[in-house]
């Protein structure tokens, strides 16, 4: 264990959306820590709460969304204790985010360079236009885009180039924490891979921490050293990525289900198995463990009690099966 201060501490965070049919609990009691210079993946299916959690870290929850419990510390600083001015400085300088629809985030009527200069000028008012211009060109170099594209408008660039620019802007002020919400999902695999390689390279060089959000299990386990798996607003497992193989049976049943559901490119045995049932509806969440209606190992206790994360062989798993006191309940599971 390192005694360094973590870059990000998410402590017991819950977030609800107020809706016409009552509050929808999109995130429930999430705990997650990111160390300096680390890449942690956050995976989960559509609607599991990944973006909601990311927005909460950035303190970007709007309108109907509300933090209903918990605390978020970035470099020891409670994000929700910052004044609006402090928060403005804190974003970009200490933490930044690449949004899920990143490519549409670029302003269509401004050149690439103007948008980069804007970021520098508004967050580093002391910086001269000349220096901001120079730094913008360096940002383009950093993500290997020809400097001649400084004067291009977004529509003149390919999807991959736009994505690189959005990533460059997120890194412009050298933050300690960068949240990337599905940064490559809309791109072709070759472009995706070259951007991921670049992210890895930059991360190694500059040693910032990344919370990388995706629904692509194989991609995340290649990129991140640790992976947090979310289901219906809760973390069901946090594990080192090397251990995320079917050869290792010590996992949450949902994690195992996901691993079986994905055809693998090179595995000899290509048999796959879907997870029965349907993804949960947050408005009528099942009682107890939200996964129990789809879980092959579920027993009566799973319908009654919500399991919490407990340490199991070096990973954290929220499943009653691993609770020694409930062992008797699972006599039917081998």
């Amino acid at each position: 264990m390192s005694n360094q201060q973590p870059v990000l501490e998410i402590r017991d965070v819950s977030i609800a959306y107020e809706t016409a049919v009552g509050p929808v609990q999109a995130v429930s009691h999430v705990n997650l820590t990111l160390d300096e210079n680390s890449i942690v993946g956050l995976v989960g299916e559509s609607g599991s709460g990944k973006s909601t959690l990311a927005n909460a870290v950035m303190r970007l929850l709007r309108g109907a969304a509300r933090l209903t419990s918990g605390q978020i510390l970035v470099k020891g600083q409670d994000v929700y204790a910052l004044s609006p001015q402090e928060l403005r400085r804190f974003r970009w300088n200490v933490m930044s985010m690449v949004f899920q629809s990143a490519m549409t985030v670029l302003n269509p009527v401004m050149t690439v360079e103007q948008q980069m200069i804007d970021v520098f000028r508004s967050h580093r008012p002391e910086m001269s236009v000349r220096e901001a211009h120079q730094r913008s060109l360096e940002l383009l170099d950093m993500v290997r885009i020809d400097r001649r594209h400084a004067r291009s408008y977004p529509h003149e660039l390919s999807g991959g180039m736009k994505q690189r620019i959005v990533i460059a802007i997120a890194l412009a002020l050298e933050p300690s924490l960068v949240i990337m919400d599905e940064p490559t999902t809309a791109l072709d695999v070759v472009v995706q891979r070259s951007i991921l390689d670049q992210i890895k390279e930059l991360q190694k060089e500059r040693r910032f921490a990344i919370l990388f959000i995706s629904h692509d299990f194989s991609l995340v386990s290649e990129l991140a050293s640790r992976v947090a798996i979310m289901y219906a607003g809760r973390l069901v497992e946090v594990a080192d990525s090397q251990g995320l193989t079917l050869a290792d049976p010590l996992h949450h049943p949902y994690t195992l289900g996901l691993m079986r559901a994905i055809p693998h490119l090179s595995a000899e045995d290509v048999e796959i198995e879907g997870i029965p049932g349907n993804p949960p509806n947050l408005v009528e969440l099942p009682t107890g463990c939200a996964y129990h209606p789809r879980c092959p190992s579920a027993s009566a206790v799973c319908e009654r009690e919500v399991p919490t994360l407990r340490q199991v062989g070096g990973r954290a798993i929220a499943c009653h099966i691993f609770d020694p006191e409930k062992r008797g309940e699972f006599a039917h599971v081998s």
Binding site: R193, H215, D216, S218, I262, L265, I272, G274
Partner: protein, 327 residues
């Protein structure tokens, strides 16, 4: 009435034969692009051909040509013994009973104000006729076939009351209502949640095995192409780069573009930098010359920029179009 109608005759000829297929489009500027260019392939009865390639490489266009939603600019397509290249009117309507399409977005392909049974009653009645009780029994069969049970409950549901996976199952049931022999499945799982994709892929696999259906499976995901495809055909900028039995293609790719694609796919054993020299979007212009991959290819020489290589058979059904095969 049984859904198992394909056990009959197998004439030996492939179900689908495509020769020198081409499609040109005129862009607003007046120039012509050719996103499908001299494409030839066959699909046997009960066989799945997976078509992979990056966005804009012409996959959907090939699917639409095969269903004759588009009429080709050149080439010939024979399906189930009939030349469908330029058919119209009644012949085209008849062809809709042979070939059907499964779309990426099941929601968009269903009618929001119709129940699940409405989606099936009409095509079943039209296609097979019969008394109401018989038609109704076929609808039950179809729903059971695609795993939408209990049937009585599903019949009354509207698309918005079904989950994404269930909607795709309903869309599949509808294509089966006319007892087709050939399905074009265009990215049928890419919009679905990860946990339910496997279920749909397995269903398609069952339809292939149990009904003997043939598929053109369009995807950009090599892992699912390897799982469902008997063979994989790799397309780049509208031209076929390589075709091989699925496992062979993944284990022994011969074309530099296939190697690049494989190296970039999550889960591949490839380590280190990608084998490519530049990341240039493909040129679809009709006046282009040579191999369309040449501007990005690490092996490219002068000849690659001048002449498109012919596909060469390298054994066991593995065909590659590359001037530098020895590498």
């Amino acid at each position: 009435m049984s859904l198992n109608h394909l056990a009959q005759e197998s004439s030996g000829a492939p179900l689908v034969q495509v020769e020198h297929l081409a499609m040109r489009f005129r862009l607003r500027g007046g120039q012509w692009i050719r996103p499908v260019d001299d494409v030839s392939f066959t699909i046997d009865r009960g066989e799945v051909l997976a078509l992979v390639g990056e966005s804009g490489s012409g996959k959907t266009t090939i699917g639409r040509l095969l269903l004759r939603i588009l009429e080709p600019s050149a080439g010939r397509m024979v399906v189930d013994g009939r030349d469908i290249t330029h058919i119209r009117g009644r012949q085209l309507a008849e062809y809709r009973r042979v070939a059907q399409m499964i779309f990426q977005d099941p929601f968009a392909s269903l009618n929001p104000v119709k129940t699940a049974e409405d989606h099936l009653l009409f095509p079943v009645r039209k296609h097979r006729g019969g008394r109401p009780a018989e038609v109704s029994a076929v609808v039950d069969d179809l729903l059971t076939r695609v795993g939408l049970t209990p049937v009585a409950e599903t019949r009354r549901k509207y698309p918005h009351e079904l989950s994404g996976g269930q909607r795709q199952r309903l869309a599949i049931a509808r294509t089966l209502a006319v007892e087709p022999r050939f399905l074009v499945a265009d990215e049928p799982i890419s919009m679905l949640d990860v946990s339910i994709r496997a279920g749909i892929l397995k269903l398609l696999n069952e339809l292939k095995r149990e009904l003997g259906l043939s598929f053109l499976y369009i995807t950009h995901d090599l892992a699912s192409a390897r799982y469902f495809g008997d063979r994989i055909m790799v397309l780049y900028a509208g031209k076929v780069m390589e075709t091989a039995p699925a496992r062979e293609l993944v284990a022994h790719p011969r074309h530099p573009y296939t190697r690049l694609l494989l190296a970039a796919t999550p889960g591949s054993s490839h380590q280190g930098a990608l084998p490519e020299t530049a990341n240039i979007p493909p040129n679809l212009s009709e006046s282009r010359q040579g191999c369309p991959f040449a501007p990005r290819c690490p092996l490219a020489t002068e000849i690659c920029h001048e002449t498109m290589p012919a596909a060469e058979d390298v054994g066991s059904g593995h065909r590659v179009a590359c001037h530098h095969l020895e590498a």
